[in-house]
Amino acid sequence: MKSFEYFKVKTVAEAISRLRDNPDGSHILNGGTDLIIRMKENHLHPDRVIDIRGIEGFSDINFSEKEGLFIGACVTLGEMAHHKSVVEHYSLLADAAEMVGSGQIRNAATMTGNLCNASPLADTATPALVLNAVVIVEGLTGEKEIPVNEFFKGVRRTSLEKTDVVKGIRIPYEANLQGSFHKASRRKDVDLSTVCASGVKIGDEYRLALGAVAPTPIRLPQVEKFLRGKEINQNTIKQALDLIDEEISPIDDVRSTKEFRTHLAKVLVQRCLEQMV
């Protein structure tokens, strides 16, 4: 690992000021489970590393029906996956968090880090997309909220500015939500998703998202539009699955092929829909 300056900041303002001093050479350190691998392998070699884990409020997680769920930037995936309100009201998010890496990784890694990495296969991204999560950001011009549906811009690219600090993620509460998360991987534990999917039904509205079938995790607007107001049965599922080819652009890589990913995308969306019956 190349040498760098390390700053353990106490406030968001201090973090922003450190970023502003050297926006191109700085990197925020949160759980570190992705950043440190990338620094060891010399894919990234920041001049300065800004550790945000000492910022007050960044490890908070709280829930109310009115405000929804707030997950502070530094809340670990392990803590989030076992939090009572997450399990009770956002079970698909708890299930997705529990599928990231190993127990040891989940004791360090965070949802904010998972989203900011913007990997196409980020496990917590598809639940975030179907739950209409909002990324809470503070930057040079103050606080802003970025809907997660506008957050991913490409492989490892987000809409964040180099001087932005993500403070946490807010997820609205829906009383009558039915949803599930599904992951296909080469082995059951400690593996990256070959394809992952989330689906929710709220009243007569359906929301579906897939990971690892496009440059970013994506929603399936055409399938959602087709399903709106319809009853889930064998016939509507078949028609919905036929629309998926048009919405995805999977690739061949070390984990799988374009053809198998297309097949898995349909299998996982079918599982999402069947859980809503």
Binding site: S3, K8, T33, S102, N107
Partner: protein, 153 residues
């Protein structure tokens, strides 16, 4: 950079460069060579230690991040000559061959039993899924954890 942290119950002040992992510092500066570097990428669990009571991989943590935290390594489990229950059951069950994965296995199991003193076999398997062993086939490792849970109970 100067850090202050608790290492196996002792408060330590130490000078360390920011680009050193916690694992490297523990092994090279403190001669605590129980935690091993297996994959160096968070997939094998051989470098598992307890950070504030929870198992984490020390290869993906900077040494400077230990500042203000409490670290326990395999060397911190025994009380003098008296081994921890998990160390005893790993020996009595024959849960190791080459031993490279053993410190990581025991630290992960220690974290599990602190949170869940009476785990099912499935819960043990899930908890240990981030620890690879190339010798034993895992059966005796799982039995050793079950046995330690019983003796603790």
């Amino acid at each position: 950079m100067k850090i202050t942290f608790t290492l196996n119950m002792d408060v330590i002040e130490h000078e360390v460069e920011p680009n050193i992992t916690l694992l490297k510092m523990l092994r090279e500066d403190f001669d605590l060579t129980g935690a091993k570097e297996g994959c160096g990428g968070g997939e094998c669990g051989a470098c598992t230690i307890l950070l504030n009571g929870k198992p984490v991989v020390s290869c993906l943590m900077l040494a400077v991040q230990a500042d203000g935290q409490e670290i326990i390594t395999i060397e911190g489990l025994a009380r003098g000559e008296v081994l921890d229950e998990l160390q005893k059951t790993f020996i009595s069950t024959g849960a190791l061959q080459c031993g490279y994965c053993t410190p990581g296995m025991i630290m992960t199991a220690k974290g599990l039993l602190a949170e869940n003193p009476d785990p099912t076999r499935e819960e043990i398997k899930t908890a240990l899924s981030g620890n690879l062993c190339r010798c034993t086939g895992y059966k005796r490792i799982i039995e050793a954890v079950e046995s330690a849970a019983k003796s603790n109970g």
